[in-house]
Amino acid sequence: MSALLRVQDLKKYFPVGKDLLGRPTQVVQAVDGVSFSVEKGRTLGIVGESGCGKSTTARLLMHLIEPDEGRISIRGKEFGRIGGRHPVAELRRQMQMVFQDSYASLNPRLTIEDSIAFGPQIHGVSEREARQQARDLLDKVGLNPNIFIRRYPHELSGGQRQRVNIARALAIKPEIVILDEAVSALDKSVQAQVLNLLADLKKEFGLTYLFISHDLNVVQYISDDVMVMYLGQVVESGPVEQLYQNPSHPYTRALLSSVPSQTPHQRKQHKVLEGDPPNPIAPPSGCRFHPRCELARPICAARQPDNVRVSGAHQAACFALPDSSGYSEYIQLQEVCA
């Protein structure tokens, strides 16, 4: 099956600080060469710690931030603001987004109905039709339209507001929905309701999800494929079972073993990583993880590792993987010299 969404070599560097002439003195390499593809009907989970570029990637996909480089295509059609590419408005009709902060993403002066019906009208649906659709959608996300349609965002609870945001994202019938920490701010009992809702909607409308989260348990539950990011780059990706059972990048291993235990008899005894993720303004040379990595060797600081196939579609970018170039040869060389 060919990919529904394909992203190639996405890049965004943010300038930080200015010198006397207004030239940027430093750049944050927020997203640095991210490529992936998603097949129709699947859910791609994107995980990583704060500052790893997962949210920036989402915003770049939607063109809420203009990418510096890279190609974004849906069904082989390339979108963007550069000449020759299809317009961004069309991209946004096919891809919508739900944000973490349910309150900040709704206009406080619009009723729920107006918020949901706004998008379709921009895209040429008549007002009457858009309003009818808003009622149907509210019903679909589990809110009684007769009760909620005239309400304002502040009259709703966090879970209800997030349902409204989901309804609004679906209002223009997108194929792809980006969920950027969409359930992270919700309490666990409400989070479970919204996760169930997302699964139902996916089935009903044949949606494809990009699920961005720092919660590794939730990502494991909802995703088909997972992509792990570290300092603006993808370090490992693959089908969820393979990646969680056989994490191959040292960072993925550390990340997965940092999750607090769910059973009292398996408390963590040792920390897995020292220190904080480094500053993306001056990322480490070579493999960006090498200063925190227990397997690091000189080659890790000197060169950037390529993606290596672990098995099937499971890939990781690490020199320490068996069939990777450089690392094992280097180790052998060291042994010979010693």
Partner: protein, 327 residues
């Protein structure tokens, strides 16, 4: 748990006076904390866990809050304390670590000065001695190049470093009780586990007791000896953490654990969510506040709630707890 009781809370009620009327944030909360013990207050937002915690240092604005009941800290009646005694207690006997260290530190003073000030205030030593203690504490919480960090301002540190500095500040005067209000919630996964392990280690070294507020079952499991689960301002279940969280008695605790996504779940099955949402606390709820969402609900649940059922060092406030346990 017949050890020395450091904290004794009896029938604590906290009511906030709001424009729209009173908010009954905490109702009839009682618990003890023994020396060297860690208690996790577990619950979702608005359940009163942070309010309970802040009451233990009387941090709520007096003119807007009514606190009733009895709180004894190290044998002293907290609610009867005068301001001077209270300010001697804060940071010395009881100390607190907050969720967002950026808001807890003063942005215009260096980390070293803020720690030194606390030491001088409580131990009456010189500034130089205070700085020395500050350095010692920063090393203890394993901040790299601690001597340099003494002169750093809070904004110059990363989130994890700031939280370590916050812990150094809270522990500078060797308090007997540390109150930690979601100290790792804002941190990344790999940093969170570092801070949790650090707190446990410092607790052993200093022999202090801890109360840990969290909404994360996993965090409670990692740090606590005992846990008290809160819902709508009440403690609804309490006991040793391994028992409560592996065999919960209260339907809410059961629901919460079932709804929490954990590894090894069947991905093709829907999550067992708890329907509805927690109640507003603008009314004094006498009956079981969870009843509207509870699958064991019966007419008896709408009667005023009876006292806790206690057995095996555990307590639960549910008339169906025993039958629910069997289900």
């Amino acid at each position: 748990m017949s050890a020395e009781k450091l904290v004794e809370v009896r029938n604590l009620n906290v009511t906030f006076k709001a424009e729209e009327g009173p908010v009954y944030a905490v109702s009839d909360v009682s618990f003890d904390l023994a020396a060297g013990e860690t208690l996790a207050l577990l619950g979702e937002s608005g359940c009163g866990k942070s309010v309970t915690m802040k009451s233990l240092m009387r941090l709520h604005p007096a003119h807007k809050t009514r606190i009733e009941g009895q709180v004894k800290i190290d044998g002293v009646d907290l609610l009867a304390m005068r301001p001077a005694a209270l300010s001697a207690l804060r940071g010395k006997t009881v100390s607190m670590v907050f969720q967002e260290p950026m808001l807890a530190f003063d942005p215009v003073f260096t980390i070293g000065d803020q720690i030194a000030e606390s030491v001088r205030r409580h131990e009456g030593c010189s500034y130089a001695e205070g700085r020395k203690r500050a350095l010692e504490m920063l090393e203890r919480v394993r901040i790299p190049s601690a001597a340099k960090r003494l002169d750093a301002y809070p904004h110059e540190m990363s989130g994890g470093m700031r939280q370590r500095a916050m812990i150094a500040l809270a522990l500078a005067c060797k308090p007997k009780i540390l109150l930690a209000d979601e100290p790792t919630t804002a941190l990344d996964a790999t940093v969170q586990i570092q801070v949790l392990l650090l707190l446990k280690e410092l607790q052993r070294e200093l022999g202090m007791s801890m109360i840990f507020v969290t909404h994360d079952v996993g965090v409670a499991i990692e740090v606590a000896d005992r846990t008290a689960v809160m819902y709508a301002g009440r403690i609804i279940e309490e006991g040793p953490v391994d028992q409560v969280l592996s065999q919960p008695w209260h339907p809410y605790t059961q629901g919460l654990l079932a709804a929490t996504v954990h590894p090894g779940m069947n991905r093709s099955e829907a999550l067992p969510a708890i329907p509805g949402s927690p109640p507003q606390l603008t009314r004094q709820i006498q009956e079981c506040a969870f009843a509207p969402r509870c699958r064991y609900r019966s007419d008896a649940c709408l009667e005023p709630m009876p006292a806790a059922y206690q057995a095996d060092n555990r307590a639960v406030r549910c008339i169906h707890a025993l039958t629910a346990e069997a289900v």
